[in-house]
């Protein structure tokens, strides 16, 4: 683990990378990392996240700037730009039920090939997927979803990289932290090692690669 600046952390991300980004309607999104992606002019990104927020907020800024080639999300209804780009064919959008999306990410981080879920059976979501029957109930096989980078917003981190999250800003963050090949954290506060009690740590330090502080 390395503590670094937002600039240097984002410098590790190449154009065309796949990024998991924390946040739910912008709440819990590492805004400093997003701004730095824009400043460095990253493009052709694949973004995996719950939603694309609204124009001008979080992932919505990346969509507006045309930095995104593909979005994998559960909901884009509050960002008309994402919908327009999808309908115009200038950006690919894959819609995934929210519970399935988070479980596909969790599966990747937890070393599973995928998960079996009843969600989507009998709907358009099952198209092209394998169905399995277990104890008389039908499930879809949903495969693990990996990413090159996880961009995580933490509330309090220590200098080793142990993380905590606050209230509803937690959402996808601890789950994507397990699933990104490289994990970049933007913490609101960084405290000395030992300040966070072991029982309160939500993401263990060894999985964090780069720790930055919100500007």
């Amino acid at each position: 683990m390395q503590t670094t600046t937002l600039q240097q952390a984002v410098g590790h991300i190449p154009n065309g990378a796949s990024l998991m980004i924390g946040g739910f309607m912008g709440v819990g999104t590492p805004e400093g990392l997003v701004d730095e992606l824009l400043r460095q002019g990253k493009r052709e990104l694949t973004v995996i996240a719950n939603d694309t927020a609204v124009p001008g907020v979080g992932i919505g800024k990346l969509v507006s700037a045309g930095a995104v080639r593909k979005v994998i999300a559960s909901h884009i209804g509050l960002n008309p730009e994402t919908q327009q780009k999808m309908l115009a064919g200038s950006m690919e959008v894959e819609l995934v039920p929210q519970g399935t999306l988070i479980e596909r990410i969790r599966a990747a981080g937890f070393g599973l090939g995928g998960i079996l879920t009843p969600t989507g059976v009998g709907t358009v979501v099952e198209d092209g997927k394998r169905k399995l029957e277990v104890d008389g109930r039908e499930y879809l096989l949903e495969t693990a979803l990996h990413a090159d980078f996880a961009l995580v917003q933490a509330f309090v981190a220590d200098y080793l990289g142990n993380l905590t999250y606050a209230l509803t800003a937690r959402n996808f963050n601890p789950v994507i932290a397990m699933a990104g090949d490289t994990v970049i954290v933007e913490a609101e506060q960084i405290v000395p090692v030992g300040v966070i009690p072991p029982d309160h740590v939500m993401t263990p330090a060894p999985i964090v690669d780069y720790l930055t502080r919100k500007a």
Binding site: G77, Q83, Q98, T100, T119, V121
Partner: protein
């Protein structure tokens, strides 16, 4: 009474002390305002909160305490927060007692379509498919008709939300149940006749000999 308030009040009567309840956006959100005082309901926001409270007073919004639409909320004493995997484990795992959602169409067997209109509106399903598939009880809150067309149809023309049938639909005209797999008229709204409901409904409704009036 305002039709949306009528629907919300009637659905609030389905709630029991101690239930874990998830409310969708729109009319479902109004249900929280009609819970009888003294009854403890655990409201879940699928972004990771149980114990969602009312909208905060001016100036007291907290950027990290929001509902599933990203709007500031409060948390009641005893609230708890968790990540999205736990949130959907609660939903998919059958731990949510009642989910109340909006609807675009419900058909004669209780199948719900509420997440897209192909070519027009593609917001994504969000948590709706998991909620309808996993909650113990699914209640739909919606207007009976849209642009003069019945939303309770013979067969959904829009993409389904789940293969699972909903349990109850409450509109400003009627309460419709699906206990034996067929749409059954359970109650009519105050000052609404059975004939008016039938005339406004495309689906074929089973009409019991006695149809009580909705208690507002």
């Amino acid at each position: 009474m305002d039709p949306q308030e009528l629907i919300a009040r009637r659905i609030a009567r389905e709630l029991r002390d101690g239930m874990l309840v998830n409310l969708g956006i729109g009319i479902p959100t109004l249900v929280a305002g009609h819970v009888p005082s003294g009854m403890r309901i655990f409201f879940q926001s699928e972004n990771g909160l149980i114990g969602t409270g009312p909208v905060p007073a001016d100036g007291l919004a907290q950027a990290r305490l929001t509902d599933a639409g990203g709007r500031p909320v409060t948390a009641i004493p005893g609230a708890c927060t968790f990540d999205s995997a736990t949130s959907f484990g609660l939903i998919r795992g059958g731990h949510v007692d009642v989910t109340v959602l909006g609807g675009l169409q419900v058909d004669e067997q209780g199948k719900l379509a509420n997440w897209m209109i192909p070519g027009k509106m593609v917001p994504g399903m969000g948590g709706a498919m998991d909620l309808v598939t996993g909650a113990k009880r699914v209640v739909v809150a919606m207007q009976h008709s849209a642009k003069g067309k019945s939303k309770i149809v013979k067969r959904c023309s829009l993409p389904l939300t789940s293969a699972r049938s909903v349990d109850l639909v409450v509109t400003e005209l009627a309460v419709i149940g699906f206990n034996d797999g067929r749409a059954t008229l359970l109650e009519v709204a105050p000052d609404v006749s059975v004939q008016q409901v039938l005339a406004a409904t495309e689906a074929e409704l089973v009409v019991p000999a006695q149809v009580p009036t909705m208690e507002p």
